[in-house]
Amino acid sequence: MKKLINDVDQVVVEQLQGMAAAHPELQVNIAPHYICRAKKGDKVAVISGGGSGHEPMHGGFVGFGMLDGACPGEVFTSPTPDQMYECAKAVGSDKGVLFLVKNYTGDVMNFETAAELVAAEGLPIQSILVDDDVAVKDSLYTAGRRGVGLTVLMEKIVGAAAEAGYSLQACADLARKINLNGRSMGMALTACTVPAAGKPNFELGDNEIEIGIGIHGEPGIQKAAMQTADEITETLFTQIIEDKGYSRTVREWDNNSSQWEEKKLVDEDFAPGDEMIAFVNSMGGTPLSELYTVYRKLDQLCAAKNIKIVRNLIGPYITSLEMQGFSITLLKADAEILKFWDAPVNTPGLRWGM
Protein backbone atom coordinates (compact mmCIF):
# COMPACT_ATOMS: atom_id res chain seq x y z
CA MET A 1 0.00 0.00 0.00
CA LYS A 2 1.42 3.37 -1.06
CA LYS A 3 -0.60 6.37 0.00
CA LEU A 4 0.01 9.98 0.88
CA ILE A 5 -0.71 9.51 4.56
CA ASN A 6 1.21 9.67 7.79
CA ASP A 7 -0.50 7.24 10.13
CA VAL A 8 -3.30 4.91 9.17
CA ASP A 9 -5.15 5.77 12.35
CA GLN A 10 -4.98 9.50 11.67
CA VAL A 11 -6.05 9.73 8.03
CA VAL A 12 -9.48 11.17 8.68
CA VAL A 13 -8.31 13.66 11.30
CA GLU A 14 -5.44 14.87 9.14
CA GLN A 15 -7.67 15.30 6.11
CA LEU A 16 -10.04 17.33 8.25
CA GLN A 17 -7.13 19.46 9.41
CA GLY A 18 -6.21 20.01 5.78
CA MET A 19 -9.79 21.02 5.00
CA ALA A 20 -9.75 23.43 7.93
CA ALA A 21 -6.52 25.01 6.73
CA ALA A 22 -7.68 25.29 3.13
CA HIS A 23 -11.22 26.48 3.74
CA PRO A 24 -11.38 28.92 6.63
CA GLU A 25 -14.97 29.72 5.66
CA LEU A 26 -15.91 26.27 6.99
CA GLN A 27 -15.94 25.20 10.60
CA VAL A 28 -14.19 21.90 11.08
CA ASN A 29 -14.85 20.16 14.37
CA ILE A 30 -12.52 17.39 15.42
CA ALA A 31 -14.19 15.76 18.43
CA PRO A 32 -16.55 14.55 17.23
CA HIS A 33 -15.80 14.87 13.52
CA TYR A 34 -18.03 17.20 11.56
CA ILE A 35 -17.69 20.02 9.04
CA CYS A 36 -20.26 22.77 8.97
CA ARG A 37 -20.84 26.31 7.83
CA ALA A 38 -19.45 28.93 10.15
CA LYS A 39 -22.84 30.59 10.58
CA LYS A 40 -26.17 29.02 11.50
CA GLY A 41 -28.74 30.07 8.88
CA ASP A 42 -32.40 30.93 9.41
CA LYS A 43 -33.37 28.05 7.19
CA VAL A 44 -33.66 24.30 7.12
CA ALA A 45 -30.25 22.79 7.92
CA VAL A 46 -29.30 20.05 5.46
CA ILE A 47 -26.86 17.53 6.91
CA SER A 48 -25.37 14.47 5.36
CA GLY A 49 -22.59 12.11 6.23
CA GLY A 50 -21.19 8.67 5.79
CA GLY A 51 -17.90 6.87 5.78
CA SER A 52 -14.83 8.80 4.66
CA GLY A 53 -13.06 7.86 1.44
CA HIS A 54 -15.64 9.38 -0.91
CA GLU A 55 -14.16 12.87 -1.10
CA PRO A 56 -15.17 15.50 -2.04
CA MET A 57 -18.46 14.04 -0.77
CA HIS A 58 -19.70 14.98 1.83
CA GLY A 59 -17.41 17.49 3.54
CA GLY A 60 -16.50 19.17 0.25
CA PHE A 61 -20.17 19.93 -0.35
CA VAL A 62 -20.64 22.08 2.72
CA GLY A 63 -21.28 25.69 1.83
CA PHE A 64 -23.77 28.11 0.35
CA GLY A 65 -26.49 26.41 -1.67
CA MET A 66 -25.62 22.88 -0.63
CA LEU A 67 -24.99 21.25 2.77
CA ASP A 68 -24.99 22.95 6.14
CA GLY A 69 -23.05 20.12 7.71
CA ALA A 70 -21.32 16.86 6.94
CA CYS A 71 -20.29 14.06 9.29
CA PRO A 72 -17.42 11.88 8.09
CA GLY A 73 -16.97 8.46 9.65
CA GLU A 74 -13.77 6.48 9.54
CA VAL A 75 -12.83 5.33 6.05
CA PHE A 76 -15.80 3.42 4.59
CA THR A 77 -17.41 3.24 8.03
CA SER A 78 -20.63 5.03 8.94
CA PRO A 79 -20.28 7.97 11.28
CA THR A 80 -21.59 7.64 14.80
CA PRO A 81 -24.76 9.25 16.17
CA ASP A 82 -22.95 11.76 18.35
CA GLN A 83 -21.42 13.34 15.24
CA MET A 84 -24.76 14.01 13.59
CA TYR A 85 -26.25 15.11 16.90
CA GLU A 86 -23.53 17.66 17.58
CA CYS A 87 -23.52 18.86 13.99
CA ALA A 88 -27.31 19.31 14.06
CA LYS A 89 -27.02 21.34 17.22
CA ALA A 90 -24.36 23.50 15.59
CA VAL A 91 -26.33 24.37 12.44
CA GLY A 92 -29.95 23.49 13.19
CA SER A 93 -32.55 26.18 13.87
CA ASP A 94 -36.27 25.87 14.61
CA LYS A 95 -36.76 25.64 10.84
CA GLY A 96 -35.59 22.07 11.32
CA VAL A 97 -32.89 19.66 10.30
CA LEU A 98 -32.91 17.40 7.28
CA PHE A 99 -30.69 14.32 7.20
CA LEU A 100 -29.84 12.95 3.76
CA VAL A 101 -28.81 9.35 4.36
CA LYS A 102 -27.32 6.84 1.96
CA ASN A 103 -29.01 3.49 2.35
CA TYR A 104 -26.46 1.28 4.08
CA THR A 105 -27.34 -0.67 7.20
CA GLY A 106 -24.73 1.16 9.23
CA ASP A 107 -25.60 4.64 7.99
CA VAL A 108 -29.30 4.04 8.47
CA MET A 109 -28.92 2.79 12.04
CA ASN A 110 -26.51 5.52 13.08
CA PHE A 111 -28.59 8.30 11.51
CA GLU A 112 -31.77 6.89 13.04
CA THR A 113 -30.20 6.97 16.46
CA ALA A 114 -29.02 10.52 15.80
CA ALA A 115 -32.47 11.59 14.60
CA GLU A 116 -33.95 10.34 17.84
CA LEU A 117 -31.40 12.37 19.79
CA VAL A 118 -32.08 15.50 17.70
CA ALA A 119 -35.83 15.09 18.11
CA ALA A 120 -35.34 14.75 21.86
CA GLU A 121 -33.58 18.10 21.71
CA GLY A 122 -36.83 19.61 20.42
CA LEU A 123 -35.64 20.34 16.88
CA PRO A 124 -37.89 19.35 13.98
CA ILE A 125 -36.06 16.59 12.15
CA GLN A 126 -36.57 14.69 8.94
CA SER A 127 -34.46 11.98 7.41
CA ILE A 128 -34.59 10.93 3.74
CA LEU A 129 -32.90 7.89 2.29
CA VAL A 130 -31.03 7.78 -1.01
CA ASP A 131 -31.10 4.34 -2.59
CA ASP A 132 -30.37 4.71 -6.28
CA ASP A 133 -28.02 1.84 -7.12
CA VAL A 134 -29.81 -0.39 -9.61
CA ALA A 135 -27.07 -3.00 -9.30
CA VAL A 136 -28.92 -4.26 -6.23
CA LYS A 137 -32.04 -5.83 -7.59
CA ASP A 138 -34.48 -6.44 -4.76
CA SER A 139 -35.11 -5.00 -1.32
CA LEU A 140 -36.72 -8.13 0.10
CA TYR A 141 -33.65 -10.32 0.21
CA THR A 142 -31.02 -7.63 0.66
CA ALA A 143 -30.44 -4.53 2.73
CA GLY A 144 -31.98 -2.74 -0.24
CA ARG A 145 -30.48 -0.61 -2.98
CA ARG A 146 -27.44 1.39 -1.96
CA GLY A 147 -27.11 5.13 -1.99
CA VAL A 148 -24.53 6.14 -4.58
CA GLY A 149 -24.15 8.87 -7.24
CA LEU A 150 -27.60 10.38 -6.81
CA THR A 151 -26.53 11.57 -3.36
CA VAL A 152 -24.42 14.32 -4.94
CA LEU A 153 -27.29 15.59 -7.07
CA MET A 154 -29.70 15.41 -4.14
CA GLU A 155 -27.38 17.36 -1.86
CA LYS A 156 -27.00 20.07 -4.51
CA ILE A 157 -30.67 20.40 -5.36
CA VAL A 158 -32.13 20.08 -1.87
CA GLY A 159 -29.41 22.35 -0.52
CA ALA A 160 -30.48 25.02 -3.01
CA ALA A 161 -34.13 24.59 -2.05
CA ALA A 162 -33.30 25.01 1.64
CA GLU A 163 -31.29 28.09 0.74
CA ALA A 164 -34.34 29.43 -1.11
CA GLY A 165 -36.46 29.10 2.03
CA TYR A 166 -38.21 25.77 1.49
CA SER A 167 -39.76 24.34 4.65
CA LEU A 168 -38.49 21.13 6.22
CA GLN A 169 -41.46 19.28 4.77
CA ALA A 170 -40.93 20.77 1.30
CA CYS A 171 -37.23 19.93 1.39
CA ALA A 172 -38.02 16.37 2.43
CA ASP A 173 -40.62 16.05 -0.31
CA LEU A 174 -38.15 17.31 -2.90
CA ALA A 175 -35.47 14.92 -1.68
CA ARG A 176 -37.91 12.00 -1.84
CA LYS A 177 -38.95 13.01 -5.36
CA ILE A 178 -35.33 13.09 -6.44
CA ASN A 179 -34.76 9.66 -4.98
CA LEU A 180 -37.70 8.19 -6.87
CA ASN A 181 -36.54 9.75 -10.14
CA GLY A 182 -32.82 9.07 -10.07
CA ARG A 183 -30.86 5.88 -10.66
CA SER A 184 -27.21 4.92 -10.86
CA MET A 185 -24.83 2.10 -11.54
CA GLY A 186 -21.07 1.77 -11.21
CA MET A 187 -18.13 -0.41 -12.16
CA ALA A 188 -14.51 -0.84 -11.15
CA LEU A 189 -11.32 -1.49 -13.07
CA THR A 190 -9.30 -1.87 -9.86
CA ALA A 191 -9.88 -2.39 -6.18
CA CYS A 192 -8.91 0.14 -3.53
CA THR A 193 -7.13 -0.12 -0.21
CA VAL A 194 -8.55 1.07 3.08
CA PRO A 195 -5.48 2.56 4.84
CA ALA A 196 -6.12 0.76 8.12
CA ALA A 197 -6.59 -2.54 6.27
CA GLY A 198 -3.37 -2.12 4.31
CA LYS A 199 -4.34 -4.27 1.38
CA PRO A 200 -6.99 -4.18 -1.32
CA ASN A 201 -10.36 -5.58 -0.47
CA PHE A 202 -10.60 -7.79 -3.52
CA GLU A 203 -8.45 -8.91 -6.40
CA LEU A 204 -9.09 -8.20 -10.06
CA GLY A 205 -7.11 -9.90 -12.78
CA ASP A 206 -5.47 -7.99 -15.62
CA ASN A 207 -8.44 -8.72 -17.79
CA GLU A 208 -11.22 -8.49 -15.23
CA ILE A 209 -13.59 -5.78 -14.12
CA GLU A 210 -16.31 -5.60 -11.48
CA ILE A 211 -19.77 -4.56 -12.63
CA GLY A 212 -22.26 -3.16 -10.12
CA ILE A 213 -19.66 -1.94 -7.67
CA GLY A 214 -20.63 0.01 -4.55
CA ILE A 215 -18.55 2.82 -3.14
CA HIS A 216 -16.93 1.00 -0.25
CA GLY A 217 -14.40 -1.14 -2.01
CA GLU A 218 -16.65 -4.14 -1.75
CA PRO A 219 -16.72 -6.49 -4.75
CA GLY A 220 -19.42 -5.75 -7.31
CA ILE A 221 -22.45 -7.76 -8.24
CA GLN A 222 -20.62 -9.56 -11.01
CA LYS A 223 -17.11 -10.01 -12.35
CA ALA A 224 -16.74 -9.65 -16.11
CA ALA A 225 -13.99 -9.75 -18.70
CA MET A 226 -12.50 -6.40 -19.64
CA GLN A 227 -14.51 -4.63 -22.33
CA THR A 228 -14.40 -1.42 -24.29
CA ALA A 229 -15.60 1.81 -22.70
CA ASP A 230 -18.56 1.77 -25.10
CA GLU A 231 -19.61 -1.72 -24.09
CA ILE A 232 -19.35 -1.02 -20.37
CA THR A 233 -21.21 2.26 -20.74
CA GLU A 234 -23.98 0.51 -22.63
CA THR A 235 -24.25 -2.17 -19.93
CA LEU A 236 -24.64 0.37 -17.16
CA PHE A 237 -26.95 2.57 -19.19
CA THR A 238 -29.22 -0.32 -20.08
CA GLN A 239 -29.49 -1.49 -16.47
CA ILE A 240 -30.36 2.02 -15.35
CA ILE A 241 -32.83 2.78 -18.06
CA GLU A 242 -34.65 -0.54 -17.90
CA ASP A 243 -35.00 -0.63 -14.14
CA LYS A 244 -38.70 -0.29 -13.43
CA GLY A 245 -40.89 0.16 -10.39
CA TYR A 246 -38.39 -0.59 -7.65
CA SER A 247 -40.25 -0.55 -4.37
CA ARG A 248 -39.02 -0.31 -0.81
CA THR A 249 -40.28 0.45 2.64
CA VAL A 250 -38.49 3.32 4.35
CA ARG A 251 -38.78 4.75 7.81
CA GLU A 252 -39.34 8.48 8.16
CA TRP A 253 -39.63 10.38 11.42
CA ASP A 254 -43.03 11.80 12.34
CA ASN A 255 -42.50 15.00 14.31
CA ASN A 256 -46.07 14.94 15.64
CA SER A 257 -46.13 11.45 17.07
CA SER A 258 -42.36 11.48 17.69
CA GLN A 259 -41.86 8.07 16.20
CA TRP A 260 -40.75 6.34 13.06
CA GLU A 261 -43.34 5.73 10.36
CA GLU A 262 -42.98 3.18 7.63
CA LYS A 263 -43.66 4.31 4.08
CA LYS A 264 -43.76 2.28 0.93
CA LEU A 265 -42.16 4.18 -1.94
CA VAL A 266 -42.06 3.16 -5.59
CA ASP A 267 -39.67 4.49 -8.24
CA GLU A 268 -40.99 6.43 -11.20
CA ASP A 269 -39.95 4.91 -14.51
CA PHE A 270 -37.91 6.58 -17.21
CA ALA A 271 -39.58 7.03 -20.58
CA PRO A 272 -38.66 8.39 -24.00
CA GLY A 273 -38.89 12.16 -24.04
CA ASP A 274 -37.67 12.51 -20.46
CA GLU A 275 -35.26 15.30 -19.66
CA MET A 276 -32.31 14.22 -17.54
CA ILE A 277 -29.39 15.42 -15.52
CA ALA A 278 -26.57 13.02 -16.47
CA PHE A 279 -23.73 12.49 -14.02
CA VAL A 280 -20.59 10.56 -14.97
CA ASN A 281 -18.52 10.06 -11.85
CA SER A 282 -14.97 8.84 -11.34
CA MET A 283 -14.38 6.34 -8.55
CA GLY A 284 -11.26 8.32 -7.71
CA GLY A 285 -8.42 6.83 -9.73
CA THR A 286 -9.98 7.15 -13.18
CA PRO A 287 -8.86 10.34 -14.90
CA LEU A 288 -11.23 12.87 -16.40
CA SER A 289 -10.19 11.98 -19.94
CA GLU A 290 -11.69 8.51 -19.61
CA LEU A 291 -14.92 9.95 -18.21
CA TYR A 292 -15.30 11.96 -21.41
CA THR A 293 -14.90 8.79 -23.43
CA VAL A 294 -17.78 7.37 -21.38
CA TYR A 295 -19.84 10.54 -21.73
CA ARG A 296 -19.48 10.40 -25.50
CA LYS A 297 -21.17 7.02 -25.59
CA LEU A 298 -23.75 7.90 -22.94
CA ASP A 299 -24.78 10.88 -25.01
CA GLN A 300 -25.24 8.64 -28.07
CA LEU A 301 -27.22 6.06 -26.09
CA CYS A 302 -29.53 8.68 -24.63
CA ALA A 303 -30.11 10.21 -28.04
CA ALA A 304 -30.99 6.80 -29.45
CA LYS A 305 -33.65 6.35 -26.72
CA ASN A 306 -34.95 9.88 -27.18
CA ILE A 307 -33.75 10.84 -23.71
CA LYS A 308 -32.63 14.42 -23.52
CA ILE A 309 -29.64 15.27 -21.38
CA VAL A 310 -30.34 18.82 -20.26
CA ARG A 311 -27.52 19.16 -17.71
CA ASN A 312 -24.41 17.16 -16.97
CA LEU A 313 -21.77 16.74 -14.32
CA ILE A 314 -18.52 14.93 -15.10
CA GLY A 315 -15.73 14.31 -12.63
CA PRO A 316 -14.73 12.71 -9.33
CA TYR A 317 -17.48 13.70 -6.88
CA ILE A 318 -18.37 10.51 -5.01
CA THR A 319 -15.30 8.37 -4.95
CA SER A 320 -13.98 5.20 -3.46
CA LEU A 321 -10.45 6.16 -2.45
CA GLU A 322 -8.09 5.52 -5.38
CA MET A 323 -10.33 2.97 -7.08
CA GLN A 324 -10.38 3.12 -10.88
CA GLY A 325 -13.83 2.93 -12.34
CA PHE A 326 -16.87 5.10 -12.85
CA SER A 327 -20.57 5.37 -12.28
CA ILE A 328 -23.43 6.80 -14.25
CA THR A 329 -26.38 8.55 -12.64
CA LEU A 330 -29.47 9.69 -14.49
CA LEU A 331 -31.98 11.95 -12.78
CA LYS A 332 -35.26 12.78 -14.46
CA ALA A 333 -35.51 16.52 -14.06
CA ASP A 334 -38.60 18.71 -13.92
CA ALA A 335 -38.62 22.51 -13.70
CA GLU A 336 -38.27 22.49 -9.89
CA ILE A 337 -35.26 20.21 -9.98
CA LEU A 338 -33.60 22.17 -12.78
CA LYS A 339 -34.20 25.46 -11.05
CA PHE A 340 -32.40 24.30 -7.94
CA TRP A 341 -29.70 22.54 -9.93
CA ASP A 342 -28.93 25.80 -11.70
CA ALA A 343 -29.04 27.85 -8.49
CA PRO A 344 -25.72 29.25 -7.24
CA VAL A 345 -23.56 26.97 -5.15
CA ASN A 346 -20.26 27.70 -3.46
CA THR A 347 -18.55 24.77 -1.81
CA PRO A 348 -15.00 23.43 -2.07
CA GLY A 349 -16.23 20.57 -4.26
CA LEU A 350 -18.94 22.14 -6.41
CA ARG A 351 -19.22 25.74 -7.41
CA TRP A 352 -21.10 27.85 -9.89
CA GLY A 353 -23.16 31.00 -10.17
CA MET A 354 -21.09 32.74 -7.51
Binding site: T77, P79, T80, P81, D82, M109, T142, A143, V194, A196
Partner: protein, 211 residues
Protein backbone atom coordinates in the same frame (compact mmCIF):
# COMPACT_ATOMS: atom_id res chain seq x y z
CA UNK B 1 -19.82 -19.48 40.72
CA UNK B 2 -20.79 -15.84 40.29
CA UNK B 3 -19.45 -13.11 38.01
CA UNK B 4 -17.91 -10.28 39.99
CA UNK B 5 -17.68 -6.68 38.92
CA UNK B 6 -13.94 -7.15 38.60
CA UNK B 7 -14.55 -10.01 36.20
CA UNK B 8 -16.85 -7.88 34.07
CA UNK B 9 -14.07 -5.31 33.84
CA UNK B 10 -11.61 -8.09 33.02
CA UNK B 11 -14.01 -9.39 30.37
CA UNK B 12 -14.20 -6.02 28.65
CA UNK B 13 -10.45 -5.69 28.90
CA UNK B 14 -10.02 -9.13 27.40
CA UNK B 15 -12.43 -8.34 24.55
CA UNK B 16 -10.23 -5.35 23.68
CA UNK B 17 -7.20 -7.63 23.59
CA UNK B 18 -8.99 -10.28 21.58
CA UNK B 19 -10.26 -7.76 19.04
CA UNK B 20 -6.73 -6.45 18.60
CA UNK B 21 -5.41 -10.00 18.15
CA UNK B 22 -8.17 -10.82 15.66
CA UNK B 23 -8.09 -7.51 13.83
CA UNK B 24 -6.57 -8.93 10.62
CA UNK B 25 -8.75 -12.02 10.80
CA UNK B 26 -11.94 -9.97 11.03
CA UNK B 27 -10.69 -7.66 8.29
CA UNK B 28 -10.13 -10.65 6.06
CA UNK B 29 -13.59 -12.04 6.75
CA UNK B 30 -15.14 -8.63 6.04
CA UNK B 31 -13.04 -8.28 2.89
CA UNK B 32 -14.63 -11.37 1.44
CA UNK B 33 -18.24 -10.23 1.80
CA UNK B 34 -18.10 -6.68 3.08
CA UNK B 35 -15.87 -3.65 3.17
CA UNK B 36 -12.91 -4.88 5.18
CA UNK B 37 -13.45 -2.71 8.20
CA UNK B 38 -15.02 -4.97 10.80
CA UNK B 39 -11.69 -5.75 12.49
CA UNK B 40 -10.77 -2.08 12.45
CA UNK B 41 -14.15 -1.03 13.84
CA UNK B 42 -14.13 -3.59 16.64
CA UNK B 43 -10.61 -2.96 17.79
CA UNK B 44 -11.10 0.81 17.65
CA UNK B 45 -14.33 0.56 19.65
CA UNK B 46 -13.07 -1.76 22.36
CA UNK B 47 -9.79 0.17 22.70
CA UNK B 48 -11.93 3.16 23.56
CA UNK B 49 -13.84 1.04 26.07
CA UNK B 50 -10.56 -0.17 27.49
CA UNK B 51 -9.37 3.39 28.00
CA UNK B 52 -12.45 4.08 30.08
CA UNK B 53 -12.19 1.00 32.29
CA UNK B 54 -10.17 2.61 35.12
CA UNK B 55 -12.79 5.30 35.73
CA UNK B 56 -15.61 2.81 35.18
CA UNK B 57 -14.59 0.49 37.97
CA UNK B 58 -16.37 2.79 40.42
CA UNK B 59 -19.88 2.08 39.08
CA UNK B 60 -22.06 -1.00 39.32
CA UNK B 61 -22.19 -3.64 36.60
CA UNK B 62 -25.22 -2.05 34.99
CA UNK B 63 -23.45 1.29 34.68
CA UNK B 64 -20.29 -0.31 33.39
CA UNK B 65 -22.14 -2.10 30.62
CA UNK B 66 -24.28 0.91 29.72
CA UNK B 67 -21.21 3.10 29.40
CA UNK B 68 -19.57 0.39 27.33
CA UNK B 69 -22.58 0.48 25.00
CA UNK B 70 -22.48 4.26 24.69
CA UNK B 71 -18.76 4.20 24.05
CA UNK B 72 -19.16 1.61 21.32
CA UNK B 73 -22.05 3.58 19.85
CA UNK B 74 -19.89 6.68 19.48
CA UNK B 75 -16.67 5.05 18.36
CA UNK B 76 -17.36 1.96 16.25
CA UNK B 77 -19.56 3.33 13.48
CA UNK B 78 -20.72 1.12 10.64
CA UNK B 79 -23.44 -1.45 11.19
CA UNK B 80 -21.74 -3.10 14.12
CA UNK B 81 -21.50 0.17 16.10
CA UNK B 82 -25.20 0.69 16.75
CA UNK B 83 -25.70 -3.08 17.06
CA UNK B 84 -23.04 -3.73 19.71
CA UNK B 85 -23.75 -0.32 21.22
CA UNK B 86 -27.38 -1.26 21.71
CA UNK B 87 -26.37 -4.76 22.83
CA UNK B 88 -24.30 -3.48 25.74
CA UNK B 89 -26.62 -0.60 26.59
CA UNK B 90 -29.45 -3.08 26.92
CA UNK B 91 -27.30 -5.42 29.00
CA UNK B 92 -26.60 -2.50 31.32
CA UNK B 93 -30.26 -1.58 31.59
CA UNK B 94 -31.18 -5.20 32.39
CA UNK B 95 -28.57 -5.41 35.15
CA UNK B 96 -28.98 -2.01 36.74
CA UNK B 97 -27.34 -1.65 40.16
CA UNK B 98 -25.95 -5.21 40.19
CA UNK B 99 -22.58 -5.76 41.83
CA UNK B 100 -22.31 -9.42 40.83
CA UNK B 101 -24.14 -11.77 38.47
CA UNK B 102 -25.40 -15.28 38.93
CA UNK B 103 -26.27 -17.72 36.17
CA UNK B 104 -29.75 -16.24 35.66
CA UNK B 105 -28.34 -12.73 35.48
CA UNK B 106 -25.99 -13.79 32.74
CA UNK B 107 -28.89 -15.23 30.80
CA UNK B 108 -30.75 -11.96 31.31
CA UNK B 109 -27.69 -10.12 30.02
CA UNK B 110 -27.53 -12.11 26.80
CA UNK B 111 -31.28 -11.95 26.29
CA UNK B 112 -31.41 -8.19 26.70
CA UNK B 113 -28.43 -7.68 24.43
CA UNK B 114 -29.72 -10.00 21.76
CA UNK B 115 -33.12 -8.32 21.92
CA UNK B 116 -31.36 -5.00 21.30
CA UNK B 117 -29.71 -6.37 18.16
CA UNK B 118 -33.06 -7.67 16.99
CA UNK B 119 -34.75 -4.31 17.42
CA UNK B 120 -32.01 -2.25 15.77
CA UNK B 121 -31.11 -4.50 12.90
CA UNK B 122 -34.31 -6.52 12.41
CA UNK B 123 -32.38 -9.61 11.35
CA UNK B 124 -34.15 -12.88 10.75
CA UNK B 125 -32.59 -16.17 11.74
CA UNK B 126 -30.47 -17.36 8.85
CA UNK B 127 -29.80 -13.86 7.46
CA UNK B 128 -26.09 -14.42 8.11
CA UNK B 129 -25.54 -11.88 10.88
CA UNK B 130 -24.32 -11.77 14.46
CA UNK B 131 -27.88 -12.62 15.46
CA UNK B 132 -27.30 -16.11 14.09
CA UNK B 133 -24.88 -16.57 16.98
CA UNK B 134 -26.89 -15.00 19.78
CA UNK B 135 -30.21 -16.73 19.13
CA UNK B 136 -28.85 -20.29 19.40
CA UNK B 137 -26.56 -19.30 22.28
CA UNK B 138 -29.54 -18.12 24.31
CA UNK B 139 -31.48 -21.30 23.55
CA UNK B 140 -28.44 -23.34 24.53
CA UNK B 141 -28.01 -21.29 27.73
CA UNK B 142 -31.58 -21.91 28.76
CA UNK B 143 -31.40 -25.68 28.22
CA UNK B 144 -27.93 -26.23 29.66
CA UNK B 145 -28.42 -24.05 32.72
CA UNK B 146 -31.57 -26.01 33.56
CA UNK B 147 -29.90 -29.36 32.92
CA UNK B 148 -26.90 -28.32 35.04
CA UNK B 149 -28.71 -26.74 37.95
CA UNK B 150 -27.70 -23.20 37.05
CA UNK B 151 -24.03 -24.08 36.96
CA UNK B 152 -22.52 -21.13 35.14
CA UNK B 153 -19.21 -22.75 34.26
CA UNK B 154 -20.81 -25.79 32.62
CA UNK B 155 -23.43 -23.64 30.91
CA UNK B 156 -20.98 -21.14 29.48
CA UNK B 157 -18.66 -23.85 28.32
CA UNK B 158 -21.53 -25.41 26.35
CA UNK B 159 -22.54 -22.00 25.01
CA UNK B 160 -19.06 -21.29 23.68
CA UNK B 161 -19.16 -24.56 21.78
CA UNK B 162 -22.62 -23.72 20.50
CA UNK B 163 -21.47 -20.26 19.48
CA UNK B 164 -18.55 -21.66 17.55
CA UNK B 165 -20.85 -24.03 15.71
CA UNK B 166 -23.33 -21.22 15.07
CA UNK B 167 -20.56 -18.99 13.76
CA UNK B 168 -19.42 -21.70 11.37
CA UNK B 169 -23.02 -22.33 10.38
CA UNK B 170 -23.08 -18.84 8.85
CA UNK B 171 -20.67 -20.06 6.18
CA UNK B 172 -23.23 -21.76 3.91
CA UNK B 173 -25.82 -19.03 4.47
CA UNK B 174 -26.70 -16.39 1.89
CA UNK B 175 -26.65 -12.95 3.49
CA UNK B 176 -29.96 -11.10 3.54
CA UNK B 177 -29.02 -8.22 5.81
CA UNK B 178 -26.12 -5.79 5.91
CA UNK B 179 -23.52 -5.11 3.31
CA UNK B 180 -22.92 -8.78 2.51
CA UNK B 181 -26.47 -9.07 1.18
CA UNK B 182 -25.45 -7.11 -1.95
CA UNK B 183 -23.37 -10.07 -3.00
CA UNK B 184 -26.37 -12.37 -3.24
CA UNK B 185 -25.19 -15.90 -3.82
CA UNK B 186 -21.57 -14.77 -3.83
CA UNK B 187 -21.91 -14.33 -0.05
CA UNK B 188 -22.29 -18.10 0.34
CA UNK B 189 -19.16 -19.91 1.51
CA UNK B 190 -17.84 -17.15 3.76
CA UNK B 191 -18.10 -16.82 7.52
CA UNK B 192 -19.92 -13.72 8.74
CA UNK B 193 -17.57 -11.24 10.42
CA UNK B 194 -20.19 -10.01 12.92
CA UNK B 195 -21.04 -13.58 13.91
CA UNK B 196 -17.35 -14.13 14.44
CA UNK B 197 -16.87 -11.08 16.67
CA UNK B 198 -19.94 -12.14 18.66
CA UNK B 199 -18.40 -15.58 19.18
CA UNK B 200 -15.16 -13.93 20.31
CA UNK B 201 -17.04 -11.75 22.81
CA UNK B 202 -18.73 -14.78 24.32
CA UNK B 203 -15.54 -16.81 24.39
CA UNK B 204 -13.76 -13.92 26.11
CA UNK B 205 -16.27 -14.09 28.94
CA UNK B 206 -15.71 -17.81 29.34
CA UNK B 207 -11.93 -17.34 29.30
CA UNK B 208 -12.20 -14.56 31.88
CA UNK B 209 -14.18 -16.72 34.27
CA UNK B 210 -12.08 -19.79 33.58
CA UNK B 211 -8.83 -17.96 34.30
Amino acid sequence: MVVTKKQIIDWLDRIAMVMKENREYLIDLDSAIGDADHGINMSRGFSKVQEKLPELSQGDIGTILKTTGMTLMSSVGGASGPLYGTFFMRCGMALAAKEELDCKDVLALFKAGSEGILQRGKPNLGDKTMYDVWAPVIACFETTSQENDQDLAATLSACVEEAEAAMKATIPMQAKKGRASYLGERSIGHQDPGATSSYLILKALWETLDA
